[in-house]
């Protein structure tokens, strides 16, 4: 910035940097701890940040490889961690795609169409979302139990049911996308309508290509939210091999035997899909897509 700055700015900058670094350490420390635990011999939650006798045993077990102990006995992997990881990716991926589809279309309706009770429904959706879904878990259980009697693949203990449950939480995403749509000049779609586009064509050919950044954001948020979600998944899915990683990794905690090391390896593993999805989606997070369309 070619602007004249007061001298004190230098010290303020330095102070800000120190504060930021301290804050970053605070954030990164837990992650380092978990990584350290996953490489530590034995299942201990306390110890050095850099393990004294690093071992890959926890990681072997997490990746489904048996470990031969020093005394010659063999420890089989206690849980199907890779299956859980795949379950998580599958459920979160499908749910996030469906959430984007559902919230985009409903956001379009709320942003562009006129109908009775629009504002009531909009605020109603938010208010319902305020109610913690954890408190309704009993109801969810009963509900999916009943659905399962008619449509087995949407019932309890199925991924279909879990995905359906996650689709209920789109109110915030609808609001987010609606806000973005409202920044796009409706004249673009009107112009498309005069050019001969149906409302669906105007939505798909004009509005959607311009909304890619917000769709990427919603996809990432939904994906992360579901990967890390525990309460709903733990109630709706009971079979060990159908669990998601977030639920399954709690299986390591027997009251009399806390498998901290194995848990840590599984926990770090669960961070990978989120990171990969974020890296992939990042290229869509670009600004300036709507530049030049309207005004001068």
């Amino acid at each position: 910035m070619p602007m004249v700055q007061p001298k004190s700015l230098k010290y303020r900058k330095l102070g800000t940097h120190i504060a930021i670094c301290a804050f970053l350490c605070l954030i990164i420390f837990p992650l380092l701890m978990v990584i350290a635990i996953s490489f530590r011999t034995g299942n201990f939650s306390v110890g050095d940040i850099i393990p004294r006798n690093p071992t890959l045993d926890h990681w072997r077990l997490a990746l489904g490889i048996s470990v031969e102990n020093a005394d010659g006995s063999i420890t089989p992997p206690p849980f199907p961690v890779l299956t859980w990881l795949w379950n998580s990716i599958k459920v979160a991926g499908i749910s996030a795609v469906l959430i984007v589809v559902l919230s985009t279309t409903s956001a379009y309706a709320f942003a562009r169409m006129k109908f009775k009770g629009k504002s009531t429904i909009l605020s109603g959706m938010l208010i319902f979302q305020m109610f913690p879904s954890v408190l309704a878990l009993v109801a969810f259980y009963a509900f999916f139990n009943m659905i399962g009697d008619f449509i087995p693949w949407l019932g309890l203990n199925t991924h279909g049911g879990l995905i359906l449950a996650y689709l209920g939480g789109i109110a915030l995403h609808v609001w987010t996308i609606k806000g973005y749509f409202e920044t796009i000049d409706p004249a673009l779609e009107e112009s498309a309508a005069i050019d001969g586009a149906t409302p669906w064509q105007a939505f798909r050919l004009i509005l959607l290509p311009l909304s890619v950044p917000i769709l990427a954001v919603v996809f990432i948020l939904a994906f992360i939210g579901i990967i890390t979600e525990v309460p709903m998944a733990s109630v709706l899915v009971q079979d060990i091999d159908k669990m998601t990683l977030a639920v399954g990794s709690q299986q390591y905690f027997y009251p009399q035997n806390l498998l901290w090391g194995d848990f840590a390896a599984a926990a770090v593993l669960s961070g990978f899909p989120i990171t990969i999805v974020f890296l992939l989606a990042q290229r869509w997070l670009v600004g300036g897509l709507t530049a030049g369309g309207v005004k001068g």
């Binding site: 009107e190 112009s191 498309a192 001969g196 004009i206 290509p209 369309g293 005004k295 001068g296």
Partner: protein
């Protein structure tokens, strides 16, 4: 090519509130005419255009384009093209895609599409820019693309919604001339919305003056006619005040002598004016309002200085080619367009001459009395 007919068209956005936006609009627009809707903001001129385009529904009344009843026909089947105030170019498509978007939707064959796009970009001088995205263009170029997108559709009616209001003054004049040329070239019906009365006067074959709807008024269509007709014989005070720049001066007074050729008015300022208007329908003693255009006023002593108006000079603007003297006449703003370097000091008392033939007169409801002469300064 088509004519556009509006019969008793009314628009009410919210029937719960009994406030119409447009009421009882009757227009008969002939094939090939350049029509300008003009009025202050909030008068419903854009709404009326959007109703013709099919972007707003018509509450009641009838719209015909090319003889066909169009009230319930979707925009695409009305065969209209529209240029939006904001241009509304598709930002993610290059110019060629912007222009052929509609043609592709209509599933025309590629050769026809390319021919039409090339022809349009040729007319508008856009050929070297066809591969660019809208954000790489200047305001005037974007405006031309928006027009080009219209041309390729070969619509029977072109609709322009304040197309020049986002351009700077110099570019606006240039584009105005280009649009006038385009109309000659295409020879199609154009309906053009603007709040700028200079655009209206220069472009239009006929002007439609709209006013914000007064709840009790039967209509907000104030006048429909040729530009000079509106200038010389405005139907009412609203049109008189809207058409002409700078604005017409108005002074209230009383009719003291009526007549079918000339009438005598005593202004509340005390000045007495003889005006060439037919007041045979009025009564002596009626409250009236005198109108006179700044450009028709003359210096005292001029051959046409038939009557005089006295006021106090507030500001003088010297534009080089002319001067504007802004005066206060008994509490009313009053503008006098004077010769270059006209000497007038702020605070000084000034008398200006008013030609009898240059007077306009309105009754207490603002309706104009017929003028009996046309003023010629020379």
């Amino acid at each position: 090519m088509a004519e556009v007919i509006l019969n008793n068209v009314r628009k009410n956005y919210d029937p719960a509130i009994h406030q119409d936006t447009l009421r009882d609009i009757n227009l008969n627009i002939a094939n090939g005419e350049f029509i300008v809707f003009v009025g202050p903001s909030g008068c419903g001129k854009s709404t009326l255009l959007r109703m013709i385009a099919g972007l707003e529904d018509i509450t009641s009344g009838e719209l015909k384009i090319g003889g066909n009843y169009m009230n319930d026909v979707p925009p695409v089947d009305r065969n209209v093209g529209m240029v939006f105030q904001s241009y509304a170019l598709y930002p993610h498509m290059d110019l060629r895609e912007n222009m052929n978007f509609g043609l592709k939707l209509k599933k025309l064959d590629k050769k026809t599409i390319d021919e039409r796009v090339d022809h349009a970009s040729d007319i508008l001088g856009l050929t070297p820019l066809l591969d660019r995205k809208p954000k790489e263009l200047s305001g005037g170029q974007r405006q031309r693309v928006a027009i080009g997108r219209c041309i390729v559709q070969q619509p029977s009616v072109f609709l322009f919604d304040e197309p020049l209001s986002n351009l700077d003054a110099a570019l606006r004049v240039k584009m105005r001339i280009e649009i006038a040329k385009l109309h000659k070239e295409l020879n199609s019906t154009i309906i053009y919305v603007t709040h700028d009365q200079v655009e209206a006067m220069t472009l239009a074959d006929k002007i439609v003056v709209l006013s914000p709807l007064n709840p009790d008024a039967p209509t907000n269509l104030e006048q429909f006619g040729e530009p000079l007709e509106l200038y010389h014989n405005p139907a009412n005070k609203f049109v008189a005040g809207f058409i002409g720049s700078p604005k017409m001066n108005f002074l209230a007074g009383e009719l003291v002598e009526k007549g079918d050729k000339t009438s005598r008015i005593r202004l509340y300022t005390g000045d007495e004016i003889v005006a060439a208007v037919d007041t045979s329908s009025a009564q002596v003693g009626d409250k009236v309002e005198l109108g006179c255009r700044p450009e028709h006023l003359v210096e005292v002593g001029h051959a046409h200085a038939d009557c005089q108006i006295t006021g106090t000079v507030q500001v003088t603007e010297h534009l080089g080619s002319e001067s504007y003297v802004y005066m206060d006449v008994d509490g009313n703003d009053f503008t006098f367009k004077a010769r270059p370097e006209f000497p007038a000091e702020a605070g000084q008392e000034l008398k200006v001459g008013l030609p009898t033939d240059a007077c306009y007169l309105f009754d207490k409801d603002g309706v104009a009395f017929p003028r009996t002469a046309k003023y010629n300064k020379d």
